[in-house]
C-alpha cells in the first residue's frame, strides 16, 4: 500500500475513545487502603457541601460532632455504647457475607435475641442467682437469634430461595411481634403508654471502666471471628462456598449444611448483640431496640472488607457520626438523619473507589498512563 491510500478520505474513520479501561491486579495493599481512606475523606467533603448548602460552617459542624462524641466521659461512654451493638451486628453479618449469603436480617435477629433475653429477665428473674441469670439470658439470646437466622438458610439450602428478601421480611415480622408484645401480653400494667416494664437490676450487665461488660464480650468475639474465618476448617469452607458453590460440592462439602451452620452462627452473634442492648443499655424491650443497627452494620461490614479488626474502627467511626449527629441537632438544628445521609455518601464513595483499585484508565494518546483517584 502506498501514499495513495494515505490520502484516501477517512469516511468511516473515528477517533479513538477518549478514555478506555483495563483490568489490573497489581495494586499493593497499602495503596489500596490509602485509596479507601481517601474516599472517606471525599465523602466528608461532599457532606461539607451539603452543610454549606444548609447555611452552616462545615468545619464547626464536624468539630462539634467529634466534640459531642468524645470530649466528656459521659459522651465517650455513650459513643462506645452505640458502637458495641453495631460491631456485634457487623461481626454477625461477616461470616454470612463471606459466604455471599446476603443476610440483611441482622435487625430481626437482634430483636429475636432481645425478645428471648427479655423473656428470661422478666419471668425467670427470681429463679436463679445473678451470674446464672445473665448467662441464661446470653444463651437464650444467642439461641433465638440463631434460630431466626437459620430459617431463611434452610429455605436457601433446600430450594435456593432468595435470602436477601427472606431475611429482610423476617425483620418486619419479628418487629410486628415486638409491637404485639408491647401492646398486649408484656405490656407494663402500670403504664398508660404501651411499653414493656424495665428489667430488674439482677438481670443487668455489670460495668467495667464505666461501660457494661458487653465491650469485652464483643472484643472477644472479634478476635474469635478473625481466627475462625482465617484459620478454622469451617472458615475455609465458608470461603470456598462463597467463591463457588460448584467447587465446594466438587470438594465434597455439604453446602446446605454449611449455609445453615454459618447462618446459625451469624444469627446467634446478632442475638448476642440484642441481649447486650437489653441487658446493658436499654434495660427493656421496645420496637426501637434494634433501631436500624442491623442495617448500619452492613455498611460497617462492607467498609471493613469483612476484616473483624478493621470493623472495630469503622464501627467507632460510625458511632461517632451517630452520636455527633445528635449533638449537631441540638447545636445547629440539623436533623439527626444527617448521619444516615452521610453514611450513605461514605458508602457510595467506598464502593466507587474500588474501581480505581481494580481498573486503570487509559487516556487517548497517553497510552500506558494510569489515572489516580
Amino acid at each position: 500500500m502506498g501514499a495513495n491510500s494515505e490520502k484516501t478520505k477517512r469516511v468511516l474513520s473515528h477517533a479513538e475513545p477518549l478514555v478506555r479501561l483495563a483490568k489490573r491486579s497489581d495494586m499493593p495493599a497499602s495503596k489500596a487502603w490509602a485509596i479507601r481512606v481517601a474516599s472517606i475523606v471525599a465523602a466528608l467533603a461532599i457532606g461539607a457541601v451539603l452543610i454549606v448548602a444548609l447555611g452552616h460552617n462545615p468545619f464547626s459542624v464536624y468539630a462539634d460532632m467529634v466534640k459531642g462524641s468524645f470530649f466528656t466521659k459521659t459522651s465517650r461512654v455513650e459513643t462506645i455504647k452505640i458502637a458495641i451493638p453495631l460491631l456485634g451486628a457487623a461481626l454477625a453479618i461477616t461470616p454470612a457475607f463471606k459466604m455471599k449469603f446476603w443476610n440483611i436480617g441482622a435487625e430481626g435477629q437482634i430483636l429475636a435475641g432481645a425478645i428471648a433475653a427479655t423473656y428470661v429477665a422478666l419471668f425467670w428473674i427470681d429463679k436463679m442467682p445473678r451470674p446464672v441469670l445473665i448467662l441464661v439470658m446470653f444463651i437464650a439470646g444467642a439461641a433465638a437469634g440463631g434460630i431466626w437466622g437459620v430459617i431463611p438458610a434452610l429455605f436457601k439450602a433446600k430450594w435456593g430461595i432468595n435470602e436477601t428478601l427472606f431475611t429482610l421480611m423476617f425483620n418486619y415480622i419479628v418487629l410486628g411481634f415486638v409491637r404485639y408484645l408491647q401492646n398486649g401480653p408484656w405490656r407494663a400494667p402500670a403504664s398508660s403508654f404501651p411499653q414493656i416494664a424495665m428489667i430488674g437490676f439482677q438481670s443487668r450487665l455489670p460495668k467495667v471502666f464505666g461501660v457494661h461488660i458487653g465491650w469485652i464480650i464483643i472484643l472477644a468475639i472479634t478476635v474469635a471471628m478473625f481466627f475462625y474465618l482465617k484459620y478454622a476448617k469451617q472458615g475455609y469452607e465458608i470461603s470456598v462456598v462463597g467463591e463457588s458453590v460448584k467447587t465446594a460440592q466438587y470438594a465434597g462439602m455439604n453446602v446446605g449444611w454449611i449455609i445453615i451452620r454459618t447462618m446459625f452462627i451469624s444469627g446467634a452473634i446478632a442475638g448476642i448483640a440484642g441481649f447486650l442492648i437489653v441487658s446493658g443499655e436499654d434495660f427493656t424491650l421496645s420496637e426501637s431496640t434494634a433501631g436500624g443497627v442491623g442495617f448500619t452494620a452492613i455498611t460497617v461490614a462492607w467498609l471493613s472488607r469483612l476484616n473483624p479488626f478493621v470493623m472495630v474502627f469503622i464501627s467507632m467511626f460510625l458511632a461517632t457520626l451517630s452520636k455527633g449527629s445528635n449533638t449537631i441537632q441540638t447545636n445547629f438544628k440539623i436533623p439527626a438523619s444527617a448521619a444516615e445521609v452521610l453514611t450513605g455518601i461514605i458508602l457510595f464513595c467506598m464502593l466507587g473507589c474500588e474501581f480505581f483499585i481494580n481498573y486503570k484508565l487509559i487516556f487517548r494518546h497517553r497510552k500506558g498512563d494510569e489515572a489516580g483517584v
Binding site: R10, S13, P17, Y231, Y250
Partner: protein, 517 residues
C-alpha cells in the same frame, strides 16, 4: 491497485491485557472472494485479533484498513457498519429468545416488529446459501449446529461481506463440518471474504486459500495453502520442529476392571434423559476416550461418576482394595465425601477448571487443601502440608507462578491446568476422570498433560478421558467410546477405525449394542 482487492488489511496491531501482550505488531490481509485460515495455538492471540476486528476489544496500537480505507472500530456496531461480522466460538445468542428475534436483535427499523415479513426474509436468505432454519424456535431448544446456523444467518442478515468464524468446527461432527465448508465455499463464490480461526491443520488444508500463522502473539507468516504441508504449518505454528505423534504405551496385560457402569441413566432438571442406559467397563492401565459432540452427556457422565450428579437408574461399581481382598462398591447415591470414605480412590479433573476444580481467587496452598482440608485433628486447618505440596508441584511440573500465595486465577491456562491435574494425581487415584483436559492449552502444555496421563496409565491407573479433538482421542486412547444424545453408540478400537466411522457414530448411527473391542 492491490488495496482495492483487500477486504481487510491489518497493520501492526498491538493489544495487551495487563502484563500479557496478546497481539504484538500483527499484520495480515484478506482478499475478497477468499478464505483465509488464521492458524495458531491456543493463546497465540487469534481470537484477540479477531475480537479487535469485530469491535469487542480496542487495540493499543496499529491500523485497520477496510477496502483500502483506514478505519477505527470502537464497537461491534461500527464493525457491522463496515460489513464485518463475527461468529464467536461461544455463540452470542440469547437462550430465551427465538431464532428470528436473535437475528434482528439490535438492528434499526420500525418501532414494532413485523414477524411475518421477517420470517420470510430469513427463510429466503437461508435457502440462498443452503441452510435450514426454524425461525420461531427458541435457542435453548436447539442443537449446537442449529445454533451455529442462526449465528451465521444473523451475520449475513446484517449484510456482512467479511465473515470471521472462530473455531467453528470444534463442536461439529465431521459430517456437519463438511456441510459447513460447503456453505463457506458458496459464500466465497458470492464474493465474500472469510476468515476462519482454527488450530486443526487438516481443516486448514481442506477449506482455505491462504493461511496466516500466529505464534505467541506475533505473526510469523502467510503461505498459500496449495504450496504447504501439515508439517510446515506445525513448525511455523510452534516455532520449532515438533513431532505430531502422541505417545501411546501398551496397555497393562493383567488389567483388572476398576470401574463398571451398568445401565446408567440420568435426567436433567427439566426431565430429559441426558444419559440413557450407559454401560461400559474401565480397566486398569488403559485410557478410555469418550467422543461425542458437545452436550451428548459427557459432563453428566463424569459428574455422576464423581457423585456430583443425581443418578436416576443403573449402577456405578467401583473396585475397592482392602486387606480381605478386593470387592465392588456401588457408589450410586453417595456424596463425594462418602465415596472417599468407602475407600474408592477416584480423582476427577472437571471441565470447568476455575469454576469447579479450583477456587479462582485462592492461592495454590489453599487450592491444594480443597479435598484434604478435613484431615488432621482440631478445628484449625493445617497449611504446612498443602504448602509443601504446592512447592513440590511447582518444581515437578514447571508451573510458572510468582509464588504459592498468588491467586490461581492470575496464572495462565496451562499452568492452571497443571495445578489442577497435579493435585488430583497427587491423591494417587486408581480411577482418574479427566474432562477436556487440554481445552485452551498450547501445544507444549497439552503434551505435558498427555505425558502425565500416560505416566498414570503406566502406573496402572484407569483413565477416563473426555475429549473433543478426534485426532487426539484416536492417538492417545486405547479404546474410544462414542456418546450421542446420552446413549452409547459404539466402543471402538481407534487403531482399526477411521475418523469418518467415529463421526457417523457421533451423529447417532449404529446402536447402543455396537461391537465393543
Amino acid at each position: 491497485m492491490a488495496d482495492e482487492l483487500n477486504a481487510i488489511k491489518l497493520v501492526d496491531i498491538t493489544k495487551s491485557f495487563g502484563n500479557v501482550v496478546a497481539n504484538n505488531r500483527i499484520s495480515l490481509d484478506v482478499r475478497k472472494g477468499e478464505i483465509l485460515a488464521l492458524l495458531g495455538e491456543n493463546g497465540s492471540g487469534k481470537t484477540t485479533l479477531m475480537n479487535i476486528l469485530s469491535g469487542i476489544y480496542f487495540p493499543d496500537g496499529g491500523r485497520i484498513y477496510v477496502s483500502g480505507r483506514e478505519v477505527t472500530i470502537r464497537s461491534p456496531k461500527e464493525a457491522f457498519e463496515l460489513g464485518i461480522g463475527m461468529i464467536h466460538q461461544h455463540f452470542k445468542l440469547i437462550d430465551v429468545l427465538t431464532a428470528a428475534e436473535n437475528i434482528v436483535l439490535g438492528l434499526p427499523g420500525s418501532v414494532g416488529i413485523n414477524r411475518k415479513a421477517l420470517f420470510a426474509e430469513i427463510k429466503e436468505l437461508a435457502s440462498r446459501y443452503g441452510f435450514e432454519i426454524d425461525t420461531g424456535k427458541k435457542i435453548y431448544d436447539m442443537s449446537v449446529s442449529e445454533k451455529q446456523t442462526v449465528e451465521i444467518i444473523k451475520v449475513l442478515y446484517r449484510g456482512a461481506d467479511i465473515l470471521i468464524l472462530d473455531e467453528p468446527t470444534a463442536v461439529l461432527t465431521p459430517q456437519e463440518t463438511e456441510k459447513l465448508f460447503n456453505v463457506l465455499r458458496n459464500m466465497k463464490a458470492d464474493g465474500k471474504a472469510i476468515i476462519i480461526i482454527t488450530h486443526k491443520l487438516n481443516e486448514v488444508l481442506a477449506v482455505s486459500d491462504r493461511v496466516s500463522i500466529l505464534r505467541k502473539g506475533e505473526s510469523v507468516g502467510t503461505v498459500d495453502t496449495a504450496k504447504t504441508t501439515q508439517q510446515e504449518l506445525t513448525d511455523l505454528m510452534v516455532g520449532r520442529r515438533v513431532s505430531l505423534e502422541i505417545d501411546r504405551p501398551q496397555p497393562d496385560e493383567n488389567a483388572v476392571e476398576c470401574l463398571k457402569i451398568v445401565d446408567l441413566t440420568c435426567k436433567s432438571p427439566e426431565g430429559h434423559r441426558v444419559l440413557d442406559s450407559v454401560s461400559f467397563s474401565l480397566y486398569s492401565g488403559e485410557i478410555l476416550g469418550i467422543a461425542g459432540i458437545a452436550g451428548s452427556g459427557q459432563r453428566e457422565l463424569c459428574e455422576s461418576i464423581a457423585g456430583l450428579y443425581p443418578v436416576h437408574g443403573g449402577a456405578i461399581l467401583c473396585r475397592v482394595q482392602s486387606q480381605d481382598g478386593d470387592y465392588r462398591e456401588n457408589i450410586v447415591g453417595m456424596k463425594p465425601t462418602e465415596i472417599i470414605k468407602r475407600g474408592v480412590a477416584m480423582a476427577f479433573v472437571p471441565e470447568d477448571r476455575l469454576g469447579m476444580g479450583l477456587v479462582a481467587s485462592m492461592d495454590m496452598t489453599d487450592n491444594m487443601m480443597l479435598k484434604s482440608y478435613r484431615s488432621g485433628k482440631g478445628i484449625f486447618t493445617d497449611r504446612k502440608t498443602p504448602r509443601a505440596m504446592a512447592e513440590n508441584l511447582i518444581k515437578r511440573l514447571d508451573i510458572v507462578t510468582p509464588g504459592v500465595s498468588t491467586p490461581v486465577r492470575l496464572l495462565s491456562g496451562g499452568n492452571v491446568q497443571k495445578v489442577l491435574v497435579g493435585r488430583e494425581i497427587a491423591s494417587s487415584p486408581s480411577v482418574l476422570v479427566v474432562a477436556y483436559p487440554v481445552r485452551g492449552l498450547d501445544i507444549n502444555s497439552s503434551y505435558t498433560i498427555y505425558d502425565l496421563l500416560n505416566e498414570q496409565k503406566k502406573k496402572g491407573v484407569a483413565v477416563l478421558f473426555i475429549g473433543e479433538d478426534l485426532d487426539v482421542l484416536m492417538e492417545l486412547c486405547d479404546r474410544v467410546m462414542v456418546l450421542c444424545g446420552g446413549r452409547v453408540t459404539g466402543i471402538v478400537d481407534p487403531k482399526s477405525t477411521t475418523k469418518e466411522q467415529i463421526g457417523l457414530l457421533m451423529a447417532g448411527a449404529g446402536s447402543g449394542k455396537a461391537a465393543s473391542s
